[in-house]
Every structure is written in C-alpha cells, then in structure tokens.
C-alpha cells in the first residue's frame, strides 16, 4: 500500500493507525510527548490533546485548502494548529489543574509536533475534509497506541502502578527500576518497541517475498538471510 494514495476515509484511518504508523514506521513526532510517558494518566491526557489537534486541524486545513496562498502555507497551518492546542491547554487547566502545572509546556509543544504538521502538508492540504479528518484521527490514534504502550512499561517498572493504582501484591515481587522513571528509560523502551515492530515487519516482508514468486528460477538465497 503506497502512502498517501488511499482516498477512502476508512483506508486513510487504517493506514495511519497501523501500516504507516507514525512512530514505528517513520519515528517522527516523539518530541512533545515522550517526556511525559513515565505516568500513564499524563500520557493519556497528552495523547487526547494530540488526537484533537491532529484531526481538527486536518479538517480546518482541508476546508481552507483552496484559500491558503502557497507562500504563507506553513505559517497558516502552524497558527491553525496553535488555535486547537490552546483549546486543549485551556480545557486541561480547567479540568486537571494539578497535572496541567506539570505538563503545560509539553502541551504547548504539540504545535511543533512533526506528525501534525506532516499530515497537514502531506494529506489534509490535498484531500476532502472527511478523509482528512480520518487521516488525522488515524495518525493520532496510532501515535497514542505506541505512547501508551511505552507509558505502561515505564509506569509498571518504575512505579509499580497502573494509572496510579498499585499492582496486586507488589511488595512481594516488585522492585523499583529507577532507570524507567528517568528520561533514558523512555529511549530504551521506545527503541525496544521499534526493534520488535521492525523485526515483525521484516519477517512478514520476507515471507511475502518468498511465497508468491513467479514459477521460474527464483534466487534461492533471497529472504533466507535470517
């Protein structure tokens, strides 16, 4: 499935969610959110904000795609994203004031998240609003999936809790792994995740390259490297 050619809304959503997952496939946009992944609840809030910003700014850019002059396109898109990010910021300040105090700067940084900008440039500025919405939603969800996985590993190993609730009988078997609370933990967990995902993808590609070949002389050593 070549990227950016799917034009059905469902296809766009699925492609961004899994096949072209922004983190595993492209390792983009981890900037703003990786720093908060040592607690699951903070991560959940950040991801919610990001999904809102990607999908809504995609709709807006798509609606305005014939009105935005080419020369000022980037800055217009940034300002559109900023409007939605400020909405998230205000909502978070009202509903979760304590958490907002900790992650406020990172919420602001959603504006420069490469995924949001990237999807607007690559897809929303050329497609109809509903397709653009699904594309934005899919990349937001795909991104959240990975970040929540990273946050789960880090919170369980670093704090022994899930969403702030302690694991059952953790005094008996659990030891704090301080590294996971500290920033390097995020690098290691994410690298592990990328490693596993790539390994599966490569195995599938190797299998796909082997199974449907033409009947004539297929090179025998292909895909057998592993």
């Amino acid at each position: 499935m070549p990227p950016d050619t799917v034009s059905t809304p469902g296809g766009a959503l699925a492609r961004q969610f899994w096949a072209e997952n922004p983190i595993f496939r492209q390792v983009l946009g981890i900037c703003s959110a990786l720093a908060v992944t040592n607690l699951m609840f903070n991560t959940l809030l950040m991801c919610g904000g990001l999904i809102w910003a990607t999908s809504m700014s995609a709709v807006t850019v798509s609606l305005m795609r014939r009105l935005i002059p080419q020369r000022v396109r980037m800055i217009t898109e940034v300002l559109i994203i900023a409007v939605y990010v400020i909405m998230v910021d205000i909502a978070m300040r009202v509903f979760f004031p304590e958490i907002h105090r900790v992650i406020a700067a990172y919420v602001g940084l959603i504006v420069t998240n490469c995924i949001v900008m990237g999807r607007l440039e690559a897809y929303a500025s050329k497609n109809t609003p509903f397709n653009a919405f699904c594309d934005g939603l899919g990349s937001g969800l795909g991104y959240s999936l990975i970040l929540m996985a990273v946050a789960t590993v880090r919170e369980v190993l670093g704090f022994g809790t899930i969403m702030g609730y302690p694991l059952p009988a953790r005094e008996l078997w659990w030891h704090q792994w301080t590294l996971m609370v500290m920033p390097p933990g995020a690098f290691f967990v994410l690298a592990g995740g990328v490693w596993i995902a790539r390994w599966f993808a490569m195995r599938r590609e190797a299998a796909a390259a082997q199974s449907p070949p033409a009947p004539q002389a297929a090179p025998p050593q292909q895909g057998g490297a592993e």
Binding site: L34, A35, I86, D89, G108, V111, A191, W195
Partner: protein
Amino acid sequence: MILMLADTLAKETTGQNLLAIFFAAAITDNILLTRFLGMCSFLSISSQMRASIGLGLAVIFVTACTGAINAALYWFVLIPLERYGVPASSLQLILFIVVIAAFVQLLEMVIERVSLGLYFALGVFLPLITVNCAILGANLFLINKNLTVFEGFVYSAGAGAGWAVAIILMAGIRIRLKTARIPAALEGPGITLIICGIMALAFIGLSGLIK
C-alpha cells in the same frame, strides 16, 4: 526608558549564577536527551557530520536570540497587558511561534545578502529550524522557570548549545556505527535511540558537578 530597562535587568540578574544556568541547560537538563525535544531533525540529520555541525550552530544562534526576544516580549508586553484582560498564558504560544518564524525568515534573508558562503553553510538549515521543537521548548521553559530577559538569553543559549553538542556527538558515533554489525531490524532509528539513552545516562551522571 532604556536606562530604566537596563536598571531592572541588572537588578534582577544579580545574585543568580549565570554560569550555573548555562551549564544546567546545556548538560544536566539537556533539552534533547532529557526532554526529547528536537528529535525529528536530530534523527534524520545526525547521519551526516557536516550538516550536524551546521544545524547545531544555527540552532544555538536562533534559540539564544529568540529566547531573549520572547522573554522581553513576554515580560514587557504580555504581562503588562494582562491587566486589560489579555490572556497572557494562551497568547504566549502564538506570539512565540510567530516571533520564531519571523526571526528565522529575516535571518535567512540577511544571511543571503551578507554572505553567500555562510548562506550555504547555515542558511539551508534555517527552514528546518522553524518547526524544531527544541527552540519553542526552550522559550516555553524559560517562561516556566520565571527567568528574566538576560537569564533567559543565557538559558536558551545553553539549551541550544546542549542540543548542538548532542547532535555533533551523535554524528560522530554514527560514523563509527557504519562499520558495526547491528541486527537488521535495529538499524537506523532503533540503534540511534539506544545510543541516545546511553548518552542521556552519561549527561545525567554529570549532575553532581552543578549546585
């Protein structure tokens, strides 16, 4: 007016250890390795040494200048306006982005006019910088930390320097990686992330030096 400004600046900066601010921002609180900002251009550019040096220098310059400009605008324009019902904390984001974008654009034009050599060394990286989260991040953090204009300048220069040091070190390591045997699935971003983690550990280990 200018004297008054200089006076307040001088008064507010005395007693603060500027050197500590700089090294904390550059090393122990490294914006790339402990806050994960600016990862996108870091991961893609650090495969080339020359480009890494150019981008690193451009980031230092732009971060330091926009940090000072934005801190000044925040403390001397937005905060006084708050009395008239202007929501400073919401507007700060839009203001900072516009200032960074405008500054980068202006810088690009000036460099192109003044020196073509410099333009080809640094100028080509400038468009990349507008969307580099490290710069916006440094600007937002210095407001969070309640730093004055001059402290803000020192802090953001430190943050930029830390980013540059990290990308140049990584570019050096990646040259050596080309001859290393890495599991196929870990090549590219995977191994870079692991090295980032190890570098982050090393940088955090220096935190005893400051304070």
